[in-house]
């Protein structure tokens, strides 16, 4: 307890600013590095040059192969990692805030798998009513249904107990897993391999149309989320006190559940179930910069993007020429962290679990 008090006491107001700037700088570097690194290496200076050239700010064009690798293979992938990562980080921070519980995260409570059900259904049934947006839209609808169900099932008396929430998540994941199994059973061979690969969580087939497919969901969610940050702070006092301070709690909850569904759908529709980013990032930021959501919500978006861009770079360079599935990598790193959190929750740190 005393170490905790000491960290908080030594937490000046500049910490969020410095941390935000550092993460943004690291994110820019990671993006450039990821764009330049791979089977065909492009020096950092050339990446910047080509970016400047295309945006009409000077710089120089690369040779034909380099230009094609950078613009058709690497950059869509980097942009997709940015969108997916920021969506996951932000969705994690919002879920924790709405549930008032630092263990809540879309993948842990079953919302990611719920979104996956919609995505699998649209692939297996060969749906295409919304063009490239079909998978995202289906993932959004089933994710929304799931998050509402989890919310309704895991709350009692205005509180969400950790155990109830995790058990609800287990049940939801099992149910969603069964539905996905059903989808796989109904699919033909080509669809099955498409589903299987997508389910592992990978950005390998990144293209600009895919970026466009998730852009609306991700941007809408990321733009709306920070507007509710202060009200999320007040929600930490409990529902009644938040209402006493002028928060329309029902509306807040409804909007944020919609936003979480949007962000999760954006991530899941392209990258499958990438677990633990939304758990790990807000948690680490909260430890360093405090629990204020005005930093935590946008900070988790930047942090999530940084983690995912770096993880994707690692996934495709660690075991070259093969490529690790991204979801496998984040789960490998994230699961031990989850164990640590659970142990700390059991020790009951100050009763904020």
């Amino acid at each position: 307890m005393s170490t905790r008090a000491a960290t908080a006491a030594a937490r000046p107001r500049t910490v969020p600013v410095v941390l935000g700037a550092a993460m943004t700088a690291a994110l820019v570097l990671a993006c450039l590095a990821s764009a330049g690194t791979g089977a065909y290496d492009i020096p950092l200076g050339d990446v910047v040059g080509s970016l400047l050239h295309r945006t009409g700010l000077g710089g120089a064009e690369l040779d034909r192969v380099g230009e094609s690798v950078l613009w058709n293979v690497r950059l869509p992938r980097v942009v997709l990692a940015l969108l997916v990562g920021s969506s996951l980080g932000c969705a994690g921070a919002l879920t924790q805030g709405v549930f008032g519980n630092p263990l809540a995260e879309p993948a842990v409570i079953g919302v990611s798998m719920g979104s996956a059900v919609g995505a699998v259904a649209s692939i297996a049934l060969g749906l295409g009513f919304l063009g490239t947006w079909t998978v995202s839209a289906c993932a959004f609808v089933s994710g929304l249904v799931t998050v509402l169900a989890v919310y309704a099932l895991s709350r009692s008396g205005g509180r969400t107990e950790v155990v109830t929430l995790l058990l609800t998540g287990i049940a939801m994941n099992a149910f969603a897993g069964a539905l996905i199994g059903l989808g796989v059973f109904l699919a033909d061979n080509a669809q099955v391999s498409q589903i299987a690969f997508w389910q592992l969580g990978s950005l390998a087939q990144a293209t600009w149309p895919k970026v466009l497919a998730v852009l609306p969901c991700a941007v809408a969610g990321l733009a709306v989320a920070p507007l509710y940050a202060r009200r999320l702070d007040l929600l930490a006092l409990g529902e009644r006190p938040a209402r006493h301070l002028g928060v329309d709690v029902e509306r807040l909850r409804l909007v944020l559940v919609l936003v979480v569904a949007l962000l999760t759908a954006a991530a899941v529709a392209v990258a499958g179930v990438v677990a633990f980013v939304g758990l790990l990032v807000p948690h680490l930021l909260r430890m360093v910069a405090g629990p204020g959501h005005r930093f935590l919500v946008p900070g988790s978006a930047v942090g999530g993007a940084l983690v995912l861009v770096s993880a994707d770079l690692a996934a495709r360079t660690a075991v070259q020429p093969a490529e690790l599935p991204l979801g496998v990598l984040t789960a490998l790193v994230g699961s031990p962290f989850f164990f640590v959190l659970l142990r700390r929750a059991r020790r009951g740190r100050g009763g904020w679990m």
Binding site: R4, A236, L237, H244
Partner: protein, 278 residues
């Protein structure tokens, strides 16, 4: 739609204005009638204590005055307007509520928690008062000394005072406090009731649920005694503290004596002396 619209700020009400009122109020919780036929009015400049045995409906009445609970019958008005007609944001500029138990889901610091009390004023002209209001609230409740500590690291009594500081920082003309002294030591109990008196002197209406009849008698202008969902007595302590009625309401014989120096009524349970032998 997403931003808060500018709202007219409430004017400071003149002394004597009725800021919270219940008329023939009936409240039903889980099929049980908890309050029935309750009428009470609280004016700017006075401290009203709600007392009564456990389960008499004190907290329920406070929650109804705060618009936490809907009325099954009768009516509740806050600042002269039916409670149901207020928007949440407008109401937050007019009444502040201290809940019985303070909880916090994330490790915010004490100062951050107190500053949350200023949230209703965001985007209004009163936002400039934020720092002053927070500092004053922390000084009055003597929590400034642990401002940078996380709320979760505090003792029960310290948490209760921080919660009160948050309510004071809200600077509303109506204060509804549910057992603010429950977890406090002798000195801080007196401190909290003195703060209530100061707020009343500054023109606020203060409703406070108390268990300690001594505190109610010493600090309240009026005491309302609740008994089985009804108001059994309502008036100045000297009139309300009457041995037969208090004894009947609490199911415990009491005697009421006058303080030898101040003359204020003291309610003492009648005990069989210190002879605990069988």
């Amino acid at each position: 739609m997403l931003r808060r619209r500018p709202r007219p700020l409430p004017q400071n009400p003149p002394p004597g204005t009725v800021l919270a009122e219940a008329r023939a109020l009936r409240v039903v919780l889980a099929g049980r009638t908890v309050l029935d036929g309750v009428g009470i009015g609280v004016r700017a400049g006075e401290v009203v204590a709600l007392v009564g045995p456990n389960g008499a409906g004190k907290s329920t009445l406070l929650a109804a005055l705060a618009r936490d609970l809907p009325a099954a019958g009768g009516r509740v008005a806050i600042a002269g307007r039916p409670a149901a007609e207020w928007g949440a944001a407008e109401l937050a500029l007019r009444r502040a509520v201290l809940p019985q138990a303070a909880e916090l889901r994330f490790p915010f610091t004490v100062e951050e928690v107190v500053r949350m009390g200023r949230a209703p004023w965001a985007g209004t002209g009163a936002e400039e008062e934020d720092d002053a209001a927070v500092a004053e609230a922390m000084r009055l409740t003597e929590v400034a000394g642990f401002a940078p500590r996380p709320f979760s690291a505090l003792s029960g009594g310290e948490r209760a005072r921080v919660a009160l500081a948050r309510v004071l920082a809200q600077r509303t003309p109506l204060l509804l406090l549910d057992e603010p002294t429950a977890a406090l030591d002798l000195r801080h109990q007196e401190l909290v009731l003195r703060v209530c008196r100061e707020r009343a002197a500054a023109g606020c209406a203060v409703v406070v649920v108390l268990h300690d009849l001594g505190l109610a008698g010493a600090y309240a202008d009026r005491v309302a005694v609740l008994h089985e969902g009804r108001i059994a007595a309502d008036g100045p302590p000297s009139a309300v503290f009457e041995a037969e009625m208090i004894g009947r309401v609490y199911g415990q014989p009491v005697e009421v004596i006058k303080h030898p120096a101040t003359g204020e009524p003291l309610v003492l349970p009648i005990r069989d002396g210190r002879n605990f032998a069988p």
